[in-house]
């Protein structure tokens, strides 16, 4: 149990997807202008990470490993995750319009997101079991949402600040991302 907790916090804070592993930078800069959309995006990524881990782990260990096809994992994972997200989006759109308006519009953006693909590879490289993989995916998703929320909060306030003209927009966002990365560096060495 304590190992699972360690994995959770390791993935959420120490090895944070965005600031520790530099994965998923695209939504990190693209969808962090408003807190509400950042939160929806974070939850959508969390959901897809969980589903992707739940599917790719058995696929890898029950199909690819026994027949010696480990080298195919990248292309097969992309294929499987993309079609999975497609089905999830379709079912949300047809069953719950409210949920679709809140989450569904972000799902196509995540289809081939590197953070989602990254967590499935991390699960395998770290030789996690199934339960550990799921906890790792949960931690990574929570960490991603957390960083997105922090970033969007800062950027919303930044709109009211008097930023020098040359730094307006993306440059200052990059600067802040760097400072946030430095701040998250302080978590290093806490757990795993």
């Amino acid at each position: 149990m304590s190992e699972l907790i360690a994995i959770f916090f390791s993935m959420a804070l120490v090895n944070n997807m965005v600031l520790g592993k530099f994965l998923g930078l695209c939504p990190f800069f693209g969808v962090s202008k408003k807190t509400s959309s950042a939160f929806s995006m974070g939850i959508a990524v969390l959901l897809v990470m969980l589903v992707a881990s739940a599917v790719t782990w058995p696929l890898f260990h029950l199909l690819l490993v026994p027949y010696g096809f480990e080298f195919m994992r990248t292309v097969i994972f992309i294929l499987v995750i993309a079609s999975l997200v497609q089905i999830i989006e379709m079912s949300i759109k047809r069953t719950n319009m409210t949920l679709y308006n809140a989450l569904g519009i972000y799902l196509p953006l995540i289809t081939t997101n590197c953070a989602v693909l990254g967590i499935t590879f991390i699960n395998i490289d770290q030789q996690y079991g199934f339960a550990q993989s799921m906890v790792a995916a949960l931690g990574a998703g929570v960490g991603f949402t957390l960083v997105l929320l922090i970033m969007s909060g800062i950027r919303e306030r930044l709109d009211l600040a008097d930023v020098p003209k040359v730094f307006k927009g993306a440059p200052v966002a990059f600067l802040i991302a760097g400072l946030l990365g430095l701040a998250f560096l302080a978590f290093g060495g806490m757990v795993g």
Binding site: M72, I76, A82, I87, M90, S91, R94, M97, D162
Partner: protein, 283 residues
């Protein structure tokens, strides 16, 4: 060699399985909400400006609301549609209700002629809402247009511009669709929607008649002399007691415009149709 072939077979079969899964999901899952289909059709008959003036986040959201209940058309009417006779008839035909009687619609006017002296220089965020937070804005008159263009930013059809000489907003009466977005953002409440067939409006929103200092704050502020009411024999102009400002009807008040000592009764282009006068420069 055999590994290569097997890899190809493996990848194609996984692709095939994924494809079949999506196909099955498409068949098994319930069809899209039937109201969405209707909403899509309604959306095609809407202006598609996504101005948000109806209170919905866009034309599609409005179409969804209309598809659920046609009452929405009355409760929060689409003001662009109200001007377009053909389009509203087409929508009315589709929904099976009469929408043709929509009236002249409304357009926006800015109740300020400018010319209030500046009492300071503001260097902060270029927005009216922020500018009035600092000592009540740059201009002496507390009702003057701030001139940083919050209304310009929200106008979906670019009908408002800032007169750089006077530093006030001006509405292009022909382009204005009367959506009311500018009315909502103006921190001074200077912009008002008036019926589109009103030939004139007051270029001032100076409120308190007892505050005689208002005359000194601006060379063109309304001094509440009521000469416009007295000079209009047919009652074209009435006095609005609550606002303490003149109220105009749809008749062109020629005498009032001439006799106004401050020359702040401004003409809209709606007067052209009534008098057949040659086009005049709009102030």
């Amino acid at each position: 060699m055999s590994t290569t072939i097997l890899a190809v077979i493996l990848l194609s079969s996984i692709g095939l399985i994924a494809g079949i899964a999506i196909f099955v999901a498409n068949r098994v899952l319930p069809k899209e909400d039937p109201s969405l289909e209707k909403a899509n059709e309604i959306k095609e008959r809407l202006p598609g400006a996504d101005c948000g003036a109806c209170g919905h986040p866009g034309c599609f959201a409005y179409a969804q609301a209309v598809a659920k209940s046609a009452d929405v058309l009355e409760k929060s009417p689409c003001r662009i549609l109200a001007k377009d006779e053909e389009a509203s008839q087409a929508l009315g035909e589709f929904l099976g209700i009469d929408l043709s009687n929509s009236g002249p619609g409304v357009k926006a006017v800015v109740h300020c002629t400018g010319d209030s002296p500046r009492i300071g220089t503001y260097n902060g965020v270029q927005s009216c809402a922020a500018a009035i937070q600092v000592g009540g804005g740059e201009k002496e008159c507390p009702y003057a247009c701030v001139g940083y263009g919050d209304c310009v930013d929200v106008c979906p059809v670019n009908a408002i511009g800032i007169d750089s000489e006077k530093g006030i907003a001006a509405v292009d009466w022909d382009l204005c669709i009367g959506c009311g977005m500018c009315v909502a953002v103006c921190p001074r409440g200077l912009i008002e929607l008036i019926p589109a067939d009103t030939p004139q409006y007051l270029g001032c929103n100076y409120l308190s008649s007892k505050d005689i200092a208002g005359r000194k704050k601006c060379s063109v502020g309304c001094i509440h002399c009521r000469i416009c009411v007295r000079s209009s024999e047919q009652g074209e102009v009435e006095w609005n007691e609550t606002k303490d400002l003149p109220q105009f009807s749809t008749v062109l008040a020629v005498d009032a415009i001439e006799k106004c000592p401050r020359k702040i009764i401004l003409k809209t282009t709606a007067h052209l149709a009534e008098t057949d006068a040659p086009p005049q420069e709009r102030s």
